[in-house]
């Protein structure tokens, strides 16, 4: 995994892509966590624009990042999630934890 990221003073944006399942979740998680460590952003923005599939392993991924950002007094934003992925997120009530754009 080599995810594209973008960061200004406040926001770290991570551009996710492809299929997010349990197999790939670990390496995505590690990469995001390294970026958070380095940047210490106020907001972590997860861009799902290029994600073609996601199961509940992706929910675990977002919830875990939410917990981490909360410890840093920060927040999580979800961006550009396709309809099929928003469906999984809604089921999980993710809209209560993260700001879904």
């Amino acid at each position: 995994m080599a995810l594209k990221t973008e960061s200004d003073a406040h926001i770290l944006t991570v551009f996710l892509e492809g299929e997010i399942d349990h197999h790939i979740a670990k390496s995505i998680r590690e990469e995001i966590d390294m970026s958070i460590e380095r940047v210490h952003p106020a907001t972590l923005a997860l861009d799902f624009g290029e994600v073609t599939f996601m199961d509940s392993s992706g929910i675990g991924l977002v919830m875990g990042r939410y917990r981490e950002m909360k410890q840093l007094n920060g927040s999580v934003t979800v961006k550009n999630a396709p309809a099929s992925i928003r469906k999984v997120m809604r089921l999980a009530g993710l809209d209560k934890l993260a700001h879904i754009e």
């Binding site: 399942d21 197999h23 392993s57 099929s84 999984v88 999980a92």
Partner: protein, 148 residues
């Protein structure tokens, strides 16, 4: 009742096979010309069940996962996913939304919830020490009949 078409696949409980299982199911039901939404629902439900067999059923051991897809008349499909892993002590509790036996980690406890809401029927049979079978059913809105 004999299905119109049927496939059975068996594979190692390696996480790299999660995507293989999804594609195999999608390729098999392509003959029914499903909508993109139906395909996505089914792939997600299959992914949950297969991941559970890998993560919970076999933990870090390598065992076999058995997946069967049956196509019946009028676009009814039946999918069974079976492992010979550790089994589930209390199926009712396991199926509750947000319940996970791996709370510290990155499991959301939503696998069964996804299967239940993305498919029309869900049945779970499990015996501690012997393994777990998940059977799911969905009616596709028919656009084309399976050729006979």
């Amino acid at each position: 009742m004999k299905p119109l078409n049927e496939m059975k696949v068996q594979f190692f409980s390696r996480s790299v096979n999660e995507s293989f299982a999804r594609v195999a199911v999608a390729a098999f039901i392509a003959q029914l010309d499903p909508t993109l939404d139906e395909l996505s629902d089914i792939k997600t439900a299959v992914s949950e069940a297969v991941t559970n067999s890998i993560v919970h059923g076999y933990k870090d051991q390598i065992g076999n996962i058995y997946l069967t897809v049956k196509i019946y008349e009028n676009g009814r499909i039946n999918i069974a996913i079976r492992d010979r892993g550790c089994g589930i002590d209390d199926v009712k509790t396991a199926m509750e939304p947000m319940y996970t036996s791996k709370p510290g980690g990155e499991r959301a406890g939503l696998g069964f919830t996804v299967m239940q809401s993305f498919m029309d029927k869900l049945r779970v049979r499990s015996r501690s020490g012997y393994g777990t079978t998940v059977i799911m059913e969905k009616m596709l809105k028919m656009r084309k009949d399976a050729e006979s």
